[in-house]
Amino acid sequence: MADERIRVLLAKPGLDGHDRGVKVIARALRDAGMEVIYTGLRQTPEQVVSASLQEDVDAIGLSILSGAHMTLFPRVVELARQAGLDDVIIFGGGIIPDEDIPRLKELGVSEIFTPGTRMEDIIAYIRQHARRAQS
């Protein structure tokens, strides 16, 4: 049987290079037993979705600290749904003002984690919602 570990793709769309958070999360998820694919910096939404398809992931985590989240998060969701990634959860993190969160959720982002979130809360969220965890 195939590996039943939860597979998470972590990506940084957009131009900002603030990868402290995404790298800490990558390590925390790995330590929690998940398979983590980190795309590196400056991936276009197209690249993120294509990598998610190839890697057969259960969850996509996006990190943006530049303020471009309202443009780039919805784009990834839209392309992912077009590509048939319907049961893949897409969550985000970064400097995201509270008032943007409802709109992002309407547009299909499943959860937003803002600064101060505990690593174990993110782990618990993925365990609860990821496809492979539920099957």
Partner: protein, 559 residues
């Protein structure tokens, strides 16, 4: 009584104190934890005494301010002659928006300017490049050509106000734009002062905004140093920065060590190019973070000066005292600010700023309390500036030179910082230099490890962050006004760029860009060629593109 006798007597006295006074107290009321640590998770002792500093020698370890080894500061009178420069980092939206903010800050008593550019500008893309979508004007000002730079500094006399520009990969292009604006104002380049960040090494290590590979990028930096030494001698061509290294998660020691080792790399490259160290070293400046742990930060700044003096004299044989004195800018730690109970950040910033002042900073940026949420609003930016003014005029911190000098704790920490930094220098030298260490991923991995351990300490409440993992409020009452940046800047920039491309002399642009490519290939100093491109209104993106065929592009290795 001889010195040895005094030392022995003090050691006995301390042991006696431990036995008679300390032990009964510990028995009755144990301490709240086994080990106490700094923000960097470095352990600290209960008490420091002269016994903590064996072989301490006032003259060689500290000396007097304005004299080697500069532990007590680079000015004999500290801040009594001149306060630090209050230099608030600002930039958002279009050049029109940021020009207004600059004028607002100058009207309220700020004494120097500091420019934040948006991400497309930092990466060398024009505002209308596809990669710029969603990013234009968001975390800084959008500058795509001389036309934008003219607006940015409209009505600001560049001969009188010094300007700092936080730009790295395309630093020489932005410097060229700045100097052409100065030229058009009728200012004399020999008298224009300011600072270019132009520190590409910490980009590969921490901030990750690069274009070209390290060794090629170093050629541009050597060009700017050579150029400024000759043509703009009051301009600091590099601000060697630990700020971003710290923000990426390093410890205070790693910030200090990697930053100064970057400095060594720049000096070495310039010397290898044939420059005389004393011709350019006096214009190198540094930029450090000020984080939460008050004493650790102060020790870091004092150690930085002492180390740099040693490096410049022993490693590079610099003869001018101006080359030996490390000057630095400080910014309070953005990463320490919390989105929760944001007004608490005003207090954090005040403590961090005070550490910078007690550490002897030459200029200071205080973060605005709303920066964990957005770019600063006018109100938040003003409180940040007022914080510095209160420290300067009300706290008494500026009255005395190096007021913490001689504190057993501070002197011990300073010594540990110095020793730790030299240990890191040896490791990096063993790789063959900083660029080789970066190739191997050494500083990057060190920082990632520290960031992860810090997060574990916060998550486990080993480190308490007020309002974040303790003293949490369920329904926070405070609503603060946030600065909103919409997409109108992107639209404005696209229109301005279209107009510029239609109206400028296209033939002249093409010729100057070709001269840039050819000149770079032949190893000519690129600054003079860039100035010609800028005068012809070539865009930032075009200039960066013209060098790609010569230098190539950097791809980050996976770590």
């Amino acid at each position: 009584m001889s010195a040895t006798d005094v030392t022995n007597r003090l050691q006995e006295a301390e042991m006696e104190w431990e036995e008679r006074t300390l032990k009964p107290v510990l028995k009755k009321t144990p301490e709240s934890r086994q080990v106490f640590t700094t923000t960097s998770l470095a352990p600290v002792e209960r008490l420091y005494t002269p016994n903590s500093l064996p072989d301490f020698d006032y003259e060689t370890d500290l000396g007097f301010p304005g004299q080697p080894p500069y532990t007590r500061g680079i000015h004999a009178t500290g801040y009594r002659g001149k306060l630090w420069t209050m230099r608030q980092f600002a930039g958002f939206g279009s050049a029109f928006d940021t020009n207004q903010r600059f004028k607002y800050l100058l009207e309220h008593g700020q004494t120097g300017l500091s420019t934040a550019f948006d991400l497309p500008t930092l990466m060398g893309y024009d505002s209308d490049h596809p990669f710029s979508e969603g990013e234009v004007g968001k975390c800084g000002v959008a500058i795509s050509s001389l036309a934008d730079m003219e607006v940015l500094f409209d009505g600001i006399p560049l001969e009188q106000v010094t300007t700092s520009m936080t730009i790295n990969a395309p630093a020489s292009m932005i410097l060229a734009m700045f100097l052409v604006v100065a030229e058009k104002q009728g200012a004399d380049w020999q008298r224009v002062g300011g600072t270019l960040q132009n520190d590409i090494l910490k980009e590969y290590i921490a901030q990750k905004e690069w274009i070209y590979p390290p060794r090629q990028a170093m050629r541009l930096i050597v060009d700017t140093v050579e150029f400024c030494t000759k043509e703009a001698p009051k301009f600091n061509p590099i601000s060697i920065s630990g700020y971003h290294i710290r923000e990426a998660g390093s410890t205070a020691l790693q910030e200090l060590a990697f930053t100064l080792r970057d400095g060594i790399e720049y000096v070495q490259y310039c010397v290898n190019h044939g420059l005389d160290v004393d011709d350019f070293a006096p214009r190198l400046s540094f930029f450090f973070n000020s984080h939460n742990d008050f004493f650790e930060e102060i020790a870091k700044y004092r150690a930085a000066r002492r180390i740099w003096h040693k490096v410049m004299t022993e490693r590079f044989g610099a003869k001018s005292p101006r080359s030996w004195a490390l000057r630095f800018h400080t910014q309070t730690a953005g990463v320490s600010l919390t989105a929760q109970q944001p007004l608490n950040n005003i207090v954090r910033v005040a403590i961090q700023a005070l550490a910078g002042v007690l550490g002897g900073t030459q200029s200071l940026h205080t973060d605005a309390y709303d920066e964990a949420l957005a770019l600063p609003s006018d109100e938040a930016a003003l409180i940040a500036l007022r914080t510095q003014q209160i420290i300067a005029h009300e706290s008494g911190a500026a009255n005395v030179v190096d007021p913490l000098g001689g504190s057993y704790f501070i002197e011990k920490l300073t010594r540990e910082m110095e020793e730790g930094a030299f240990d890191y220098f040896r490791k990096i030298d063993d790789f063959g230099g900083m660029i080789e260490a970066i190739d191997a991923g050494f500083p990057q991995r060190e920082i990632q490890d520290s960031a992860y351990h810090y997060q574990l300490a916060v998550d486990s409440k080993d480190k308490i962050i007020v309002g974040l993992n303790d003293y949490v409020m369920k329904d926070e009452p405070v609503q603060i006004p946030l600065l909103q940046i919409d997409e109108s800047t992107a639209k404005l920039q696209a229109e301005r760029l279209a107009k510029l491309r239609a109206e400028r002399d296209g033939k002249r642009v093409a010729e100057t860009l070709k001269a840039l490519t050819d000149g770079a290939r032949q190893g000519h100093n690129t600054m003079y060629l860039l100035l010609d491109c800028v005068r012809a209104y070539a865009t930032l993106g075009e200039m960066c593109d013209a060098l790609r065929p010569v230098y190539g592009e950097y791809q980050e290795p996976a770590f």
